[in-house]
Structures are given as C-alpha cells and as structure tokens.
Symmetry: C2
Subunit: 288 residues, 2 copies
C-alpha cells in the first residue's frame, strides 16, 4: 500500500458515497481539509454539522485552490454538468475521480468536458452502496473489505491512478482494474439487473388493491430480496439510462430463464426444479 | 395470552422450524419433555446433543404416549406419509399441528390420513424461515415478533386451536388466522415467487463460463437479493409442487411486468422508470 497524503479533498455530492469516502480518509488520518459541494444547500449544511465535510464550497476558484483530489460522487446523469463546472477551476496538479456505477458513459462525458486534463482523471466505482442515501447515511467503515474497480483510460497517468488507488486502500477497500466495457457488462448482470427486478416486484404488488395486505404477510426473505428497491430512484434512473444496452441484454436473458422456469413449474417437473435449486444453492455457497 | 402448559411435545422434523419451536417453548418454560422424530438418525443425534430435543423417538406407541402436542415440521411433500405414520399412535387428547409453507395441500393430506382426528388438527404456517436448515440452525428467538398464520378447518375444535395459538404466542409470535386458499395465494406472491426469482437468477449466472467472475464483482445488494437462493432445494421443490397453480399465476404476472419494464428500458424512458422506482421505494417504506 502506498503511503498517501491528501492535504485538500473536494467532494462533489456529499451523500453516502462521497461522505463515506471523506469520513474514511479522515479516520485513516490521511486527509487535511475536506471541501464539500452539492446541488442542495441543506445537504451541505447537514454534511458540515455531521463532520463529513469541513467547509462548504462552490464552483469557484477559491473552493478548488490547492485541491489534491476531487471526487465526483453525484448520480451519473449529473456528471457531465459537474465536469464542465469544475474544469475552469482545477489546479494543475489536481487528480479527479468519480464514484459512478457505470463507467463508459462517465468516460464519454469526461472526454467531452475534461478534455485538457484526462491524464489526471481516474474513472472508478466503489461496489459498496447501501439502499440509503444522503450525508446522514455516510459512515467511515462503508468501504472496508469492499471492492473498488478502477477503469483507467489510455490517457490516465500512472501518478493519478496511484493516488486514487492509495486513497481507496486507505479507506480499507480492495482495489482492482477492469476495462470500462467489461465493468459495465459485469455490473449490468450482478447489480443493475437485480435492482430492476426488485423495483419491479415491489411495484407489481403495490399496484394491487390488496397490496398492503400482501406486504403484511411477508417475512425476512421478502424484506431482504427487496431491500435494494428502497434505493435512490434518481441514481438508478441514471444508471439504467447510462448502461441501457447491457442491462437490456441481461433482462432479456433473465426473461428467457423465467420462461423456462415457468415451463418446469407448469409441467410439475419437481426433479428439474430441485436440480435447478440445488445448482443455485451450490453456486451461491461456492461464491460466499 | 392464554397460559399454556405442554408436558410432552413431539416434534417430527427437528430442523430449523421444529427445533426452534422446541427451543422457544423451553425458553418460555412451558414445555416438559420434547421427543424428536426424523428420517435421518444423524439429525436426531445432533438435535439431542444440542439440547433441541430430550429424547429420540420413532413411529411407535411409546414415543407418542402422553403427547399433548405434535408438530409436523417436515418438507410439505413428506406430510402425507408422516400423518399416516402417526395416526395409529396418537393419544385421544393429542393436538396435531404443522409448520408447512402451503396449507391447502397439507389440509388435503390431513383429510386423507388423519380422518378420525381432524377436530384436533390445526394447520399453521410460521412465516419465519431463514435460508439455513437442520437442528444446528435452530434458535429460540426465531419466532419473536414473527407472524404465524393458522388456517383452521371447519372441523378444527376451539380447544385445539387455542392450544396451538397459545404455544406460538409463548414463542413470541404474532398469531393470525386466514382461510387456507387465501393464505396460499398471498404466500405465492410474497414468498414463493421471490424464492423462484432468486434461484433462477443465481442459476442463470452460474451456468455461464464466466459465472465465478460475475459473482466476484457482486456487492451487498446481490448478496441480500439472493440470500433465499441458499434455501433447502427439497423443501422448495415441495412448496412449488404444492402451490403450483398460485405460483404460476404470480410468475406470469411478474413476467408481464418485466415485459413492460423492458419496453421502458429499451425506449430509454427515464421519467417512467424513475416513477416506477419512486412508487416502489414509497410502497416499501410504508410497508416497513
């Protein structure tokens, strides 16, 4: 692990992801001042009161003066606007990274709005959200033993990448690298699709006249299965728009799978169902 | 809450459900001796070593002598055989109940094999499993604040029903009543369908050449979403065969829902997706 020291950090979007990054670096004692920027003044006030950030900033020269690292942790649909807003104020040495759940689209808007500083841009994705959001949900241990994926561009410098890696390692994360397209395809399967399935299931029941009653008979299985359906609607709208094609492919595969399962069910094929359940349980056991 | 006293309890299937029932009643101090019966001798040995049961029983007069309450907590596909096996040995006053996740089929096999003692049979379903199974998974707090649904038959006596209700209340559960067909329809939606979806999703990925790699990029969302895919394959095969028609209807509804969602996704309709996510998050918030 590289020893890292970040005298000044700017966090844009001081919610669960950005706030927890700031708190984790503070706990590790590797960060000096944390400047926070957000669309919502009340988010910044709350983040300051909670000690997540030290100073409320804005898109101006003063807020970015002396910044060593800038983390953009907004919904991915905001990132183009944010990159455009920060570009004029970035000091020569400042490294920029992001916390977005999709990477190809973030890279595309970075190419557009951070054209002069791509050597100092490190696209990254901490795989460690919860269904909660906002600075009140942030906590310093969020990233301990969690995976953070860097998807560096051809232009990304070794120095910038080393700084971002070291910062995440200081948060306790396990850092790996992946091409952006592979990242997006993988996450479409293992994260984006399950979110879509959970949102759809809850909405299916909620739309029924007896929806409340159905919920009242649910147990721990349903609660855990649908936990991710309490996630931020805006954040997830952006993710699905950003990674639309890969998610569409996964959803189609899954719908084909459910068609097969329906056939087994309607045929009363207990042996085939039990085999499927057994394969699934074994695979999950190996994975855990 | 009725004061309850069960000098002798027989538990058939001393796993998670039956074992936790025994442990909870012991903790409440309302049970005398617990006799355990199981297909598997090693299950009984383990249950006895763990103090889940006091005595290893069998399908014979001695094991059922003086039994006040008999809980059948096997997979539902076993229950016909179990009812047939216990019928010759049931004392005149013994009340029989079960812990099956489906109720119409259990009632049907009870009508067949417990014909002489239906007044003392109380069909019941504790909505409180975990993905674990076996006596080692049992613990006395499993039922605290959990819902137990009784689906009494026309023949069920008030005395038998009161005893079973009081026993579950002594375990800390909230007991309610429902017609068996309504129970099965409700549980098909809120429990059986999610299990099928989780099993199908894990198997979909496990079947791919890069399945292990996909799993390795999953986070807490996927882990919770698929927790129920680690459930007992035999138990769930039986549930799906037992409640096949109701689950088939729910699966069809859900597949129709996913078809709609795919259209929104492929059209890039961010506003409609965000609305769906917002409705889903609100409904889940109200329900919690």
């Amino acid at each position: 692990m590289t020893a890292v020291r970040i005298p000044r950090l700017v966090v844009i979007g001081a919610g669960l992801i950005g706030g927890s990054f700031a708190l984790a670096l503070k706990r590790a004692g590797v960060v000096g001042e944390v400047v926070g920027i957000s669309r919502r003044p009340e988010t910044l006030e709350q983040a300051k009161q909670l000690g997540v950030i030290d100073r409320i900033g804005a898109y101006d020269a003063e807020s970015f003066a002396g910044a060593d690292l800038v983390l953009v942790a907004t919904p991915v649909g905001q990132m183009g606007k944010v990159f455009a807003a920060i570009a004029p104020f970035l000091p020569r040495e400042a490294v920029v990274t992001d916390g977005g759940s999709t990477k190809q689209d973030v890279i595309a808007v970075a190419r557009e709005h951070l054209a002069g500083t791509l050597d100092r841009f490190v696209p990254a994705h901490p795989i460690s959200g919860t269904e909660k959001s906002g600075p009140g949900a942030a906590f310093p241990e969020l990233y301990v033993d969690r995976r953070v994926v860097l998807t560096p561009m051809a232009e990304t410098s070794a120095r910038a990448q080393a700084l971002v890696r070291a910062a995440w390692e200081a948060c306790g994360a396990r850092v790996s690298e992946l091409p952006a397209d592979e990242h997006d395809a993988m996450l479409a399967a293992v994260s984006h699709l399950p979110h879509l399935l959970a949102f759809a299931l809850v909405d299916e029941f909620a739309a029924r006249p007896n929806g409340e009653r159905i919920f009242s008979f649910s147990g721990g299985g349903f609660r855990d299965f649908t936990r991710i359906a309490s996630s931020s609607p805006e954040m997830w709208r952006d993710i699905f728009l950003s990674n639309r094609e890969a998610v569409s492919v996964e959803l189609k595969h899954y719908r084909d799978k459910l068609e097969e399962v329906q056939k087994l069910l309607d045929a009363g094929d207990g042996a085939a169902l039990e085999n499927l359940f057994e394969r699934s349980r074994s695979a999950r056991g190996r994975w855990l």
